[in-house]
């Protein structure tokens, strides 16, 4: 976008103030000039930014600026009900045509992330309670009116408290009927998706190669499913083109890595965003309305399957900007203690983390080939791409200064593991067995307490000691350490944090 066009767009709020001021003189009705604009009603409101100065004073001023815009936008939303929600309505075609800069898309998504969903714009469903703490099956609650109300701890788009747990797939009334899920922090989500899709590609290539070998040689071929240094077990291809899947580990037989959700059952940020809008807010995307089953979207059919009298609740462009906002979240930082004694403990902890076996599943880092986040629109939609190394929220991923290599300091192998009976749930969740959970990435872990899928652990040590199953040996090794040695691991884990960020409310 040229500077001039960017300036015109940034001027839109000024024009709006002018219009409001003028209308206030004549009567109390206001017309949102953006609504009559053939550009659509979308407008970045300067409440979010991908920039983060390293200077705290500049950060503070920028945070106060964003807060000032937030307050004024709130008044404008009162003056023109719906203004705020409409400010997120970027048409998908415009996004695909590159009319919005990455920072503007991030802003639009942020506005949606912080918007209050109301019945007037489609919140809830005709056949569900106005708000419900425990979900009714796959339909959801609704249990919250904003994304941000459960993703707040540790900074923007952060984690949820234990009190914010979602209770999935229940009977709508009893906690014991539902599966408790602590809201996860969203930092680095786009890179997580890229890493997962690269592994999925690698595994598909291995599978294809094994099949080719088996069919051309006429005998079974067994090979390791190895990607990014992580083994997903072995696969045997038979000469008839079929496979023996029994040695696959930590992933479904389809060999697709699903890095989202505590159980590792969601493949993309987009899928996660669309499902969250549906189950937490009853806000239904066009795509789900046209494609999902009544068990998910409601029995009323047509273009308003939840029967609340609102159709087209979430447009494709809104799914896109919200997905991009999540995908463009900052990368967590590792910040070593400044005090020498603590720094030495940290160094010990770094070694011990590997020694006792934590790093087997919580793999500290994995290589990454690409930083381009690709979002394929649904239903004949086109492709939107964002380069997370340049355009994501700061701090973003940077190649190694020495080698130029890209690494993701994720602290996860992106595999599912049996974590033992103490943490197991009595039933499967969307096809993943009760004891199986994805290795939770530990990046930023110091900013995302409490811990474990249902937030039952207030502190990191509580969480470590609750590990079982495949993690039993590592857990026992931790428990067997002397207290000063345990402390080094705890100090090490507190260094997995987020960059200092000034925020306001």
């Amino acid at each position: 976008m040229t500077d001039a066009r960017r300036a015109v767009r940034l001027l839109a709020p000024l024009a709006l103030y002018g219009a409001l001021a003028a209308s206030a003189c004549s009567n109390n009705e206001t017309v949102n000039p953006l609504l009559d604009d053939d550009q659509g009603s979308a407008a970045p409101l300067h409440m979010f930014s991908t920039e983060l100065s390293s200077d705290l004073r500049e950060q503070a001023l920028a945070a106060l600026e964003r807060d000032a815009f937030r307050r004024e936008a709130r008044f404008l939303d009162a003056a023109k009900p719906g203004y705020f929600f409409q400010s997120t309505l970027a048409p998908q075609a415009q996004i695909e045509a590159g009319m919005w800069s990455p920072d503007e898309l991030f802003q639009l998504g942020g506005q949606l992330f912080n918007a209050t969903f109301t019945p007037e714009i489609g919140f809830g469903a005709h056949d569900l309670p106005p708000i419900a703490r425990f979900h009714t099956g796959r339909r959801g609650g609704p249990d919250a009116t904003r994304c941000a109300s459960c993703h707040w701890r540790g900074g923007p788009a952060g984690a949820g408290d234990a009190a914010d747990n979602a209770y999935l797939d229940g009977d709508g009334d009893r906690q014991s009927s539902a599966l408790g899920r602590n809201p996860i922090p969203l930092h680095g989500a786009g890179l997580l998706e890229i890493a997962a899709s690269e592994i999925t590609e690698d595994l598909a290539a291995i599978k294809a190669a094994l099949r080719d070998q088996a069919t051309s040689n006429g005998k079974a071929v067994r090979g390791e499913l190895l990607s990014k240094g992580i083994s997903f077990g072995h696969l045997t291809a038979r000469p008839d083109g079929s496979f023996d899947n029994t040695e696959i580990e930590g992933i479904g037989d389809d060999l697709v890595v699903r890095p989202f959700g505590w159980k590792g059952n969601v493949r993309t940020v987009r899928d996660a965003v669309e499902d969250a809008l549906l189950i937490h807010h009853g806000m239904q995307s066009e795509h789900l309305v046209s494609s999902a089953s009544p068990e998910r979207i409601g029995p009323f059919g047509g273009d308003d399957p939840d029967g609340d009298g609102v159709s087209s609740e979430i447009l494709e462009g809104q799914v896109t900007v919200l997905t991009l906002f999540v995908a463009m979240q900052e990368v967590p930082a590792m910040v070593l203690p400044s005090d020498t004694n603590f720094a030495l403990m940290w160094a010990d902890g770094n070694n011990r983390f590997a020694e006792i076996g934590c790093a087997k599943c919580h793999v500290p880092s994995i290589p990454l080939r690409s930083t381009t986040f690709l979002l394929q629109g649904r239903d004949a939609g086109g492709l939107v791409a964002v380069d997370l190394a340049n355009d994501a929220a700061e701090p973003h991923i940077t190649p190694s200064a020495e080698s130029g290599e890209l690494r993701l300091f994720l602290f996860s192998d992106l595999k599912r593991h049996d974590i033992g009976p103490a943490l197991a749930e009595p039933r499967a969740d969307r096809g993943v067995a009760g004891a199986q959970f994805l290795t939770r990435p530990l990046w930023g872990v110091a900013r995302s307490r409490p811990y474990l899928h249902d937030a039952r652990a207030a502190r990191l040590e509580d969480a470590i000691l609750l590990h079982g199953g495949e993690a039993q040996a590592a857990r026992d090794a931790y428990a067997a350490l002397k207290e000063p040695e345990r402390a080094t691991i705890r100090v090490y884990l507190t260094s997995l944090t987020r960059a200092k960020r000034m925020v306001t409310q």
């Binding site: 000024l14 600026e65 307050r71 009190a163 207030a458």
Partner: protein
């Protein structure tokens, strides 16, 4: 910042060229202009010092097992002896508010496997691990979201069995506590004067219960025998104004803290335990094996009285909400119109704009030692503090709100299901969702849900034009808190 500055410069030039006469600055600063360099330095220094303290505590807690819980050992006797400055008490209270209670602290009844969001009767549940966990909306010490609602007095599992309560914001709590205490004092004084008069004249005296411009009905004081409290309104017959809790059932912050720790974390104060020795309150505290461990989790002295004091001091010294009108002149006109409508529609009848605080000195008195921490509520603590016309937008009185808002179940105190305290509206814009159970996502939805004694005002609001409703909404959105940068935790 050079990039941002150049963009702003460009925009100002363009704005001047394209819209001559429009002098709106680009950033709609709520105080009219950007913070000065000195103000900004002070804000950054404050934020940094909090961050440095929290960061040090975090690594200390990791490096030394049990270090966190040492913060919970504060003895009332040491406070009485002046061992802590008010600043230190405030910081310690801040630490308690963020502290995540653990089994070692006495969390729950010793057999923790999962959170228990639906409380079991008056014993409570296990909602989360820290105060801060449910006071996150609008900033630190803020309100709770819908998911953070507490489900009181339930059967331990079923949402529909419980009374739903949204966590209130804690800002300005010290001034609310002091106002209510003054009202209580004034009503008691009037009542004792009436009793003297009745004794002197030998005939019953009918006393108008008026304080700070709020009428609590009348009471009939006979020369001897029981008072006739049948015409008392909005307060119990004991004439104690209790400003905390959605139904107005708690008068002191230390009791509020004590009860919250008990029902949300299963953390029992030493004051409660010592009372238990005389009068075992098994329903609220458990069957014990003995008075010093009523919940039988093997942990004793779970919450020292000193913690009640530090936390009450902390809450009393929190900042006070402010009114910040829109920046844009047109919106400001609408704000002014909304303010007038707030009165003419009748909102201000119960949501009284301000109550006058006569005495800003507060004595946070101990339950057991007779000691007290003396605070100057308008002169010490977090800024801003406001003045003695406390703009809380409440009469601190209970009102019947109609069937639509009534609780599904009885509360513990036996108050009618539809009776609630007039919620102070200060800070309103930063405390969604609204109403006792958080059912209203927006301010207009909350207004329209009013009934009972507020039915007429509600109907008057509903009868306004859409533009006038918006004006009132704009006014209410100016009830907010001071913008303060902090480092995200």
């Amino acid at each position: 910042m050079p990039r941002r500055l150049s963009r702003i410069t460009l925009l100002l030039l363009l704005a001047a060229a394209l819209a001559p006469g429009d002098s709106s600055p680009l950033v709609p600063w709520p105080h009219g202009e950007a913070p000065s360099a000195i103000e900004l330095d002070a804000l950054v220094a404050d934020a940094s010092s909090i961050q440095d303290r929290e960061q040090l505590e975090e690594v200390l807690a990791a490096a030394e097992a049990g270090e966190e819980s040492e913060h919970l050992v504060i003895f009332q006797e040491d406070i009485d002896d002046g061992l802590y400055s008010h600043d230190q008490l405030f910081q310690l209270g801040d630490g308690v508010f963020a502290h995540e209670f653990t089994l070692d602290d006495g969390y729950g009844d010793g057999t923790f496997t999962s959170l228990n969001r639906i409380h079991t009767g008056v014993r409570g549940g296990l909602d989360t691990f820290s105060c801060a966990g449910c006071h996150s909306v609008g900033g630190p010490d803020g309100a709770g979201s819908q998911t953070q609602n507490a489900f009181l007095l339930g059967d331990g599992d079923t949402a529909s069995s419980a009374v739903v309560r949204n966590a209130p914001a804690m800002l300005g709590a010290g001034l609310v506590q002091a106002l209510a205490a003054e009202m209580t004092q004034i009503l008691a004084h009037k009542r004792s004067l009436a009793l003297q008069e009745a004794k002197a004249s030998g005939v019953p005296v009918t006393l108008a219960l008026e304080t700070k411009g709020v009428s609590f009905g009348t009471i009939v004081v006979p020369p001897e025998g029981a008072l006739d409290v049948s015409k008392v309104e909005g307060v119990n017959g004991d004439l104690i104004v209790r400003p905390f809790g959605w139904k107005g059932v708690v008068s002191r912050l230390r009791r509020f803290v004590e009860d919250a720790a008990r029902v949300h974390f299963g953390i029992q104060s030493q004051v409660l335990a010592e009372n238990y020795e005389q009068n075992p309150d098994i329903p609220h505290l458990g069957p014990g094996p003995n008075w010093y461990d009523p919940d039988n989790d093997g942990e004793v002295r779970e919450l020292e009285e000193g913690i009640l004091t530090t936390t009450a001091v902390y809450l009393a010294l929190l900042e006070t909400p402010v009114i910040l009108p829109p920046h844009d002149p047109g919106l400001r006109d609408r704000w002014a119109n909304g303010s007038a409508l707030f009165d003419s529609v009748g909102c201000a009848g119960c949501h009284k704009r301000s109550l006058e605080l006569l005495q800003s000195t507060w004595h946070e008195t101990s339950d057991t030692t007779g000691g007290a921490v003396t605070l100057e509520l308008l002169y010490e603590g977090d800024q801003p503090r406001g003045n003695n016309q406390v703009a809380l937008f409440s009469d601190l009185k209970r009102h019947a709100m109609g069937k639509g808002l009534a609780d599904a179940h009885d509360n513990e105190q036996g108050l009618p299901r539809d009776v609630f305290l007039t919620r102070p509206l200060w800070g309103l814009a930063e405390t969604p969702p609204y109403l006792h159970d958080g059912r209203a996502a927006t301010i207009p939805a909350a207004i329209l849900a009013h009934g009972g004694e507020a039915q007429a005002s509600r109907d008057a609001f509903a009868a306004l034009s859409a533009g006038e409703q918006a004006d009132l909404h704009i006014f209410l959105l100016s009830l907010t808190r001071e913008p303060k940068p902090r480092i995200a935790r």
